[in-house]
Chain length 221, copies 2
């Protein structure tokens, strides 16, 4: 039985990684659709969303089955509980990518808002946080997970800067109100992706150390 | 042991309900701070947030302990897994209430945006969805849970209406751009509270029926 159990845990790990890959691709596609200002990517994103939703259900069922059949304890149990939560976070990251793509596809006047280096930066950092949080999960790497948690502040700062910049634009030029609002909502979506990556990293730390750091190293509001 | 197990499940149920009560109060306080346009409520909300965060950790630990010690199966195991997820959703509902209160406290020009019946309506429906989803959890009431899931569409429609109304305001009067934006972000927070209540309701349905309805009765985007 021990051998089956190891194989099941390996399969669970691989499924989570696979789901994480798809979620990462969805973020890339969402950002591409934002930059190219075309709807070409929307269909691909909806396709990926379906895959993510299917995995979401499969992984939950797998976790339940493993717990019921193998009755794991200690680190193994914490690993499975982390998988349950990471599963939810990945599914919601997919939702945020869909939101970004949908917001991008209806972007109104483009004008000089076309390029927003801060938004690109925010997208890159959030994407890296997701990748690193999953790497930390696989390698049980507490240090990497901590880095992810701390990086979240950077994303929040960028979001505040984007909000302030766009508020100025909106106040000074009504013709840019709607496109600014869309960018604000996209920045908000990216912030949420970073939040989910942070949740994953916190779950990894709890999984490895058996110690809950959530609400202890919380950012200053 | 059976008796201890029953008692532990009862205690878990009570803790979730208690946390749900606090989250519900936080929504009320957030809406009150929005209407009264005063910061009086901010301190109470931060205080409640601390309680919610403490419960978040306690409930997770309790769930792990029960699974490890009692090795539950079938409905009992699904009950505990539902509790783990509901715990996360309640904590995030608390976060959204904090966001609303913070957005309210910095509301800029108030003018005729003071009263927004649609926003009140959205707040009332989201609050009821939370209460009903928890009632469904406690009573294992699938029908009530289904009602919650279906009500989410109403919240989404209201949000779209609010967005469109406020976009018109913003386009026509730059002096109202910032306050409109704050209301848009608050509507977004309320939408997320309704989403979390929907997640809870879906978890209840899975818990009772052992059947995953997520991504099957999904709303049309």
């Amino acid at each position: 039985m021990e051998r089956y159990f190891e194989e099941e845990l390996k399969e669970l790990k691989e499924k989570i990684l696979y789901m994480g890959d798809i979620a990462g691709t969805m973020i890339d596609l969402a950002i591409a659709s934002l930059k190219k200002k075309k709807d070409d990517f929307i269909d691909s994103i909806y396709q990926k969303e379906k895959e993510v939703n299917k995995l979401h259900i499969e992984i939950d069922e797998m976790c339940l089955r493993i717990i019921a059949l193998r009755q794991p304890i200690a680190i193994d149990l914490r690993f499975i509980m982390a998988a349950v939560k990471i599963n939810s976070d990945l599914e919601r990251i997919g939702d945020q990518a869909v939101n970004i793509a949908e917001n991008s596809s209806k972007l109104h006047e483009i004008s000089d808002l076309k390029s927003m280096p801060d938004l690109d930066n925010m997208a890159n950092i959030s994407q890296k946080m997701l990748q690193d949080s999953l790497k930390a999960f696989i390698n049980r790497d507490v240090e990497l997970a901590r880095t992810v948690v701390l990086t979240d502040d950077k994303v929040d700062d960028l979001k505040s800067k984007i909000f302030n910049d766009l508020k100025d634009v909106m106040r000074n030029d009504t013709s840019k109100v709607l496109s600014s609002l869309d960018f604000i909502l996209i920045a908000r979506n990216l912030e949420r992706i970073a939040d989910h990556a942070t949740n994953i990293a916190e779950d990894v730390i709890f999984m490895v150390l058996g110690k809950d750091i959530r609400h202890h190293m919380e950012k200053q509001q």
